[in-house]
Symmetry: C2
Subunit: 124 residues, 2 copies
DNA sequence: TTAACATATCATAATATCATGATATGAAAA
DNA sequence: TTTTCATATCATGATATTATGATATGTTAA
C-alpha cells in the first residue's frame, strides 16, 4: 500500500544488477500502452472458457445458428446465448438475422489463427 | 437440473430446422476432445490477465530476470513471481538459474505468435 | 557463520466469472 | 391476434482469480 507512485526501488530489488538497466530500457521502449494491454487481456480472456472455445471451434468449421450450436454442444440455450453475447461484445463473432434465426460466424481470420496456434501448442 | 443426460431436445430448441442436422454432424466431427478443450481454455486463460500479458510482451523482446521484469513493469516482486509461477506451470515461459538470478524466456514461438496476432486484432 | 539479496510460496480478502432459472423480445405460423 | 419458436437479457448463488502481505528458500558476499 505504501510508495505506490515511486519508482520500483522498494525493497532493494536487484540493485546490484545495474548492468540490466539497458535491457529494461529496451523492453520498456517496445511496450504497448496500458489501455492496449487491458484491451488485449480482455480479448484473450474470451478464449479462456471451454464453452466459448467450443463455440469458436465450431464456427471455425462453418457458420451456424444458435440452435445448431446448442445441439452440437449439448448445452441449453441460455448458456449458449449468454456466451454468444460475450463473444459478440468482444468482437470475436458476428451474426446476421435470417427470419427468427441468427446465423453466427467468426469476425475474422485472427480468431481462427489464435485458436489453431493454441491447439497446436497444447497438442505437441 | 432435469434431463441432463438426454439429447438436447429440451425446450424444443430449433426442432423445425432438421435441415441443419447435417451441419451439426459436420462440426461435431471436427471437435477436439473434452480434455483438449479444457487444456486449451486453461492455456488461453493465462493470456487473459494484464500483468501476465505484460510479462509475455517483455519476454517477446528479450529474456529477462525477475528483477528486470519488476523494474520494467513497476510491480512488486511477489506479484511478478506469482504470475511467473502461473506462466511456468502452464508452459508459457521457461527459465534457467544463473547464480541467485532466474533468467526467464518464452517457451516457444507459439506464445509470441498468439500475442502478436492478438495485438494485431485489437489494433485494427 | 551471518547478512543481504533474488526469488518462491502461502494465506486471504476483494473482485470477477460461471452456468442457469426466470423472463422478455420479436418473428412467423396458425 | 394468439401461439409457438428462436433468441436475448436479467438476476444470482457458487466458484475462481486477483494482488499482496507475511514468510520461506537458497545463493553469494562479508
Amino acid at each position: 500500500m505504501e510508495n505506490n507512485n515511486l519508482e520500483n526501488n522498494d525493497e532493494g530489488v536487484c540493485e546490484v544488477f545495474n548492468s540490466h538497466e539497458d535491457a529494461v530500457e529496451r523492453v520498456k521502449g517496445r511496450m504497448p500502452s496500458e489501455e492496449e494491454y487491458a484491451e488485449l487481456s480482455e480479448f484473450f480472456k474470451i478464449f479462456g472458457n471451454p464453452t466459448r472455445l467450443k463455440i469458436i471451434s465450431l464456427l471455425a468449421v462453418e457458420d451456424l445458428c444458435v440452435c445448431d450450436i446448442c445441439d452440437a454442444l449439448d448445452l441449453n440455450q441460455t448458456t449458449v446465448s449468454n456466451q454468444l453475447r460475450i463473444l459478440r461484445a468482444n468482437n470475436l463473432v458476428k451474426y446476421q438475422k435470417e427470419g427468427k434465426m441468427a446465423r453466427y460466424s467468426l469476425t475474422d481470420l485472427h480468431i481462427e489463427m489464435i485458436y489453431k496456434v493454441g491447439l497446436e501448442h497444447i497438442l505437441e
